[in-house]
């Protein structure tokens, strides 16, 4: 079956990203397709490569990046939500005249249409938030 996942909260402050990660991993382990993981609202903050969590804690960004690499997972960060919150890739940084970018490997920035597409294309969409 084809799943899509929506994540509305950033890492660490709310459990949403953790729950979504374990859910997505379980989907893939069971042989399901995950069409797309979409990061919206504060969820875009999962996609920064600048986090340095404590040594004895999980590294959520690294977990997502590795899951994406292993399963060729499409992880999309909403561009409008990302601009409000300061998540940029190299292109966006140049376009906005910013002197740095912070997107993590495995994440790509794209439009909200990608969320609607995921809703259309997937058999089930599951939302994780606050």
């Amino acid at each position: 079956m084809k799943f899509a996942v929506l994540i509305n909260e950033g890492p660490y402050t709310h459990q949403a990203s953790d729950s979504a990660y374990h859910f997505t991993k379980a989907c893939l382990d069971k042989g399901h397709d995950v069409f797309r993981v979409f990061f919206y609202n504060d969820g875009v903050n999962n996609g920064t490569r600048l986090t340095v969590p404590p040594q004895d804690d999980r590294n959520l960004q690294k977990n997502w990046t590795e899951l994406a690499e292993k399963h060729d997972l499409d992880m999309v960060v909403c561009i409008a939500a990302a601009q409000r919150r300061g998540i940029l890739d190299e292109n966006e940084a140049r376009r906005q005249g910013k002197d740095a970018d912070n997107i993590a490997p495995g994440f790509r920035i794209s439009g909200l249409g990608q969320l609607v597409e995921a809703g259309i294309a997937a058999d089930r969409l599951v939302v994780f938030g606050d």
């Binding site: 079956m1 799943f3 509305n8 459990q15 949403a16 729950s19 374990h22 859910f23 991993k25 379980a26 989907c27 382990d29 069971k30 399901h32 089930r124 969409l125 599951v126 939302v127 994780f128 938030g129 606050d130």
Partner: protein, 102 residues
Amino acid sequence: MPTLHTVNKSPFERTAFGSCLKHLAAGDAVLVLEDGVVGLRKATAFAGDLDAVSGDHKLYALGPDLDARGLKPDDLVSGVTVVDYGGFVDLVAEHDRTQAWL
């Protein structure tokens, strides 16, 4: 065309869990996760609300979240089925849609 409702908020902190229970259609089930699981304990101010729906609707709880909050299956109201993340996936697949009560 049953729905799987997901609830991740404590009924003692927010009204989402209570509102969810008031919007169940025939055949709908509820999966409780994250802080929501504290609402499943028996002998609380909320247990009556659960009892009122658990005859007609299946209640599921995410085991990893029960463990984290020190809740044992014996602590819960009757009629709750405990699942892991894989069981969560199965429930989503078995229902026609999922609705999150954020």
